[in-house]
């Protein structure tokens, strides 16, 4: 599997279109980031940190975090997986906070509320990562 083969069905034509002149610079940098594993990892780390920070302020931060980590992925499918991963990370951090406060057991006992709490980031992360689909995949390197 190559970097470019994860596109969802029907989006092949998007990858073959020429990059529009107006967003040349930004998109080019994004494509470079998506192709360069080292820069991608760095961007992912920053996106995860920023996403977590935003998520502590408002639930929309879960969408934003998902979008940020998704944009660093070269394909939409990988973006969705990264968004899901962001959701899992949110849950891990949340559980750690509860564990440190000594309330993890009590939180886990709050069914069905805890079920809603678990579902939200696992849905919101990939949903935010869908934003990756608004950007064309990087053109195939020839």
């Amino acid at each position: 599997m190559t970097e470019g083969d994860g596109s969802v069905a029907g989006d092949v034509t998007d990858t073959e279109r020429p990059v529009e002149q107006s967003s040349d610079g930004t998109l080019a940098r994004l494509y470079d980031l998506q192709r360069d594993p080292r820069r991608r990892r760095l961007a992912t780390a920053v996106a995860l940190g920023l996403g977590l920070l935003l998520a502590t302020v408002h639930w929309a931060g879960l969408l934003a975090g998902g979008a940020l980590v998704g944009l660093s992925r070269p394909t939409l499918r990988r973006a969705l997986a990264a968004g899901f991963g962001f959701g899992v990370l949110v849950l891990v951090v949340t559980a750690a906070r509860f564990a440190l406060a000594g309330t993890l057991g009590a939180v886990l006992a709050t069914w069905p509320l805890v079920g809603v709490g678990v579902a939200i980031p696992l849905v919101a992360g990939p949903l935010g990562a869908l934003a990756r689909g608004l950007v064309r995949d990087a053109p195939l390197e020839r």
Binding site: D11, T13, A55, T56, L91, V93, T103, A106, L130, G133
Partner: protein
């Protein structure tokens, strides 16, 4: 075919729009990890420093989360108490306030509407405002202002309890009137009784004999609170109806009222709400100092109705329980003495019928307009309702289907009860305590007080009306014809400030005594022959009988009544109902089915103790309910009457074999009592078999629930001892029981107490239900303030940290 971008854009826009603009937003606001309001309480640490304009104070907590509040000034103390109450119980306070104000549905939706319709119609808000008029310009008013500021300091600066996130609303500012509403709730729960309306309904539908049987005005027993009539003060010269006409002279009342009476009954306290208290003179104790015990039986909820606290400030050093929303210790002890309350069952509510013509009612020779106001009951997520609040000269006018009645209740007036409790907390001896209790206008309570000097007191608090019809004193156990000006209350001022000095039974003419050898109150008749009419009826005397039996036995033995004996009495589980009726059950064995006989055989040789490991206790307690239904249900169904019309267990167990309920019942066939007992025992055996119970503890488990009905917020189910008929009181079916156990002493060792649950209403707190095991197992905690060690919250001038 749409492009990927347009599909994704549509999906994103739709999802985000749905999340932001629909009900989903409430879930996201509440439950999103890291930001959700519901989870905030799970990681929250309160401020350790709080700014106060009232003077420095500190709060330290003991290992059960019971705060000790110490302050340099009195207002500084109450500011800190307000902060502590809000930190532990803000949602409960708001819920109580909403219930009494009739604004519950605005928070909880449709399920709060019926409650709001009643409470709005009663206009308790107006009554609370009248209270504040009485209290405002007194030192108690200053204390309540400081308390309010403390609640507000927490509400506006700290995170809210999870319940607010679950319901999706924020509490409105706390006010002194809100504290007065809380006081009204307590008073209503203890004295808001429509018994006379129910009685009149039964008399109308089933006849006077049935009414007298179900609602007897006097229970035939010999354990009133004051057994020695020579102890009772004389001097009652006013004709207040005692010995006068009884309920059979009720106003004409047609059967349309049964629906109204049943509806109103749902806003009364659970059946059997009561309490125990007793005091023992120092001449009878090992230490030479008096002892006091009290355990009020109220609805058991999570969190508990009481909040435990130690308060230390200038002129005040008091330990005990407060009602969240009011800063003062209601039951407890201070440096001088200790005190407790039980319900007197005083008759302080009357019901009136009227001759009505449109918006007018006849009152004597004139026609008066009802005082009418339109109020909106806001309903969260539903359609708002409009309530017409209608008042007559007597108070609120309640309408249901075709029945309309006016209601007079002493609690609809301004009262000085907050002042009384404030002064009681600060009292330095018996005289100051009694002076404070004179102002305890509502509810009517039996108070026991003892101090370290050995002085003790028993008395009855609360304004009790002296009803007049045509200038003559009348009893209150009837529905009055309001248009004929029957049953008027001199001095009464609904929603205003009454004349405290006249129109009511004078404090000194109510039953009271000083320095008795020992004395027990358990909601039974206060005295056999009172000078004044006090109550329509009293509780069954089972608990009173047992307490007096135990105290008498010890007194007769010449052994001292020591503190350990006090504890034994409070935890006693002998059921006098069983002692009274077990032989009747055993005598009916010949009429029983095989399985009923097997169940009944478990009662043979039983010691009548309602202990968790007893199989006899299991049989007896379940039998009570089946027997009650077997005797009365068919008649009540025939009369269209619901469970609210069942009589107390004294009535049930004193029906002899020749009673008309067996020989000539109002509905159904005549039956031998033994046959009824046998049928009830057969149903008992079937229930035990079906449920798989083996011992009483399998059935008799705590069921203390949070109002939300969410399983995790409810307290754990624990087996416990006691029954509705025992001193150690637990009423599984009605969800009521001992809400605080106090054993107070003055011999240098600490007094003891325990509440059914925990002091902190925060589900995530270690103290959410950390006293529940001790409570269920009959254990206590020493009442010792935490005056040294880490300060949890420090109040000082300046800004918060």
């Amino acid at each position: 075919m749409p492009s990927r971008r347009s599909v994704v854009a549509a999906l994103l826009a739709g999802s985000v729009g749905a999340a932001s603009l629909t009900e989903a937003r409430r879930y996201l606001d509440g439950f999103a990890p890291l930001s959700g309001e519901v989870w905030g309480a799970a990681t929250r640490n309160g401020n350790e420093r709080v700014a106060t304009p009232y003077g420095e104070a500190t709060v330290r907590y003991d290992d059960a989360g019971v705060p000790t509040v110490q302050a340099d000034t009195e207002q500084g103390l109450y500011f800190a108490v307000g902060y502590v109450h809000a930190a532990d119980r803000l949602f409960q306070m708001d819920l109580f306030r909403r219930r009494m104000a009739g604004t519950l549905a605005a928070a909880v939706g449709e399920q709060g509407v019926e409650t709001d319709l009643f409470y709005t119609s009663m206009d308790f808000q107006g009554a609370a405002e009248a209270n504040w008029e009485v209290v405002r310009d007194t030192p108690t008013g200053d204390a309540l202002e400081a308390y309010t500021a403390g609640v507000e300091a927490y509400r506006t600066r700290e995170g809210l309890p999870m319940e607010f996130g679950l319901l999706g609303y924020e509490p409105e500012p706390w006010t002194p009137v809100a504290s007065m509403l809380i006081e009204k709730q307590l008073a209503w729960g203890l004295t808001g009784s429509f018994r006379s309306l129910r009685r009149a309904t039964v008399a109308d539908g089933l006849g006077e004999d049935v009414a007298q049987s179900l609602f007897p005005s006097r229970l035939d027993h010999d354990v009133p609170i004051l057994r020695d009539e020579s102890q009772i003060p004389g001097g009652g010269t006013t004709d207040t109806g005692e010995g006068g006409s009884t309920g059979d002279d009720s106003a004409d009342f047609d059967g349309s009222a049964s629906s109204l009476a049943s509806w109103l009954s749902t806003f009364e306290s659970p059946r059997g709400t009561g309490s125990n208290s007793w005091l023992v003179s120092g001449e009878r104790t090992e230490s030479g100092r008096p002892l006091v015990a009290n355990d009020p039986h109220l609805t058991l909820v999570a969190p508990p109705v009481w909040h435990q606290m130690y308060q230390r400030g200038p002129g005040v050093s008091v330990d005990g329980v407060t009602f969240p929303g009011v800063p003062f210790v209601v039951i407890g002890q201070n440096r001088a003495g200790a005190w407790g309350f039980t319900n007197t069952n005083g008759d302080v509510l009357d019901v009136y019928t009227y001759e009505i013509d449109g918006d007018q009612y006849r009152y004597g020779d004139e026609w008066r307009e009802f005082d009418t106001t339109e109020r909106t009951v806001e309903v969260s997520g539903g359609e708002d309702r409009t309530v017409t609040v209608k008042k007559s000269v007597h108070g609120p006018v309640i309408q249901r289907e075709n029945a309309t009645v006016g209601v007079a209740w002493t609690g609809l007036q301004g009262s000085r009860t907050a002042i009384a409790v404030h002064e009681l907390d600060r009292s330095a001896n018996r005289e100051e305590a009694v002076a404070a209790l004179r102002k305890f206008d509502s509810p009517t309570q039996n108070v026991v007080y003892a101090d370290r000097e050995g002085d003790t007191f028993f008395g009855v608090t609360g304004l009790i009306p002296t009803r007049r019809t045509d200038g003559e004193g009348v009893r209150g156990d009837q529905v009055f014809d309001g248009s004929a000006r029957e049953g008027e209350w001199p001095g009464y001022a609904p929603y205003g400030v009454p004349d405290f000095g006249s129109g009511w039974i004078p404090f000194d003419e109510k039953p009271q005594t000083r320095d008795p050898d020992y004395l027990a109150t358990a909601n039974q008749r206060v005295v056999d022959d009172p000078d004044h009419y006090i109550a329509e009826a009293y509780s069954a005397p089972f608990r009173a009988q047992r307490i007096y039996d135990m105290l008498d036995e010890r007194a007769a033995s010449d052994g001292p009544i020591d503190f350990e004996y006090l504890r034994r009495v409070q935890l006693d589980t002998r059921d006098e109902r069983a002692a009274m009726f077990t032989d009747v059950i055993l005598d009916a064995r010949d009429a029983m089915s095989d399985r009923a006989r097997v169940a009944a055989d478990r009662l043979a040789g039983w010691d009548y103790r309602m202990d968790r490991d007893s199989s006899a206790a299991l049989v007896f307690q379940l039998f009570v309910d089946h027997y009650r239904r077997a005797v009365f249900e068919e008649t009540l169904n025939y009369g269209g009457l619901d469970d609210a019309y069942y009589p107390n267990d004294w009535v049930l167990f004193t029906l002899d074999a020749d009673s008309f309920w067996f020989r000539d019942p109002p509905a159904g066939e005549a039956r031998e009592r033994a046959t009824v007992v046998a049928e009830a025992m057969d149903e008992t055996a079937a229930e035990i078999e079906e449920a798989g119970y083996e011992t009483y503890g399998d059935y008799n488990r705590t069921a203390i629930d949070h109002p939300f009905g969410l399983g995790f917020l409810n307290y754990p189910r624990l087996p416990t001892d006691g029954s509705p008929g025992t001193v150690r009181n637990f009423r599984k079916e009605s969800g009521a029981g001992t809400s605080f156990r106090l054993l107070a002493r003055f011999d240098g060792d600490p007094s003891l107490g325990v509440i059914p649950g925990g002091n902190d209403g925060d589900y995530f707190s270690d103290h959410y239900h950390d006293q529940l095991d001790e409570w269920a197992d009959g254990e206590y905690r020493p009442l010792v303030p935490t005056t040294e060690g880490d300060v949890a919250v420090r109040f000082r001038g300046g800004d918060d940290d």
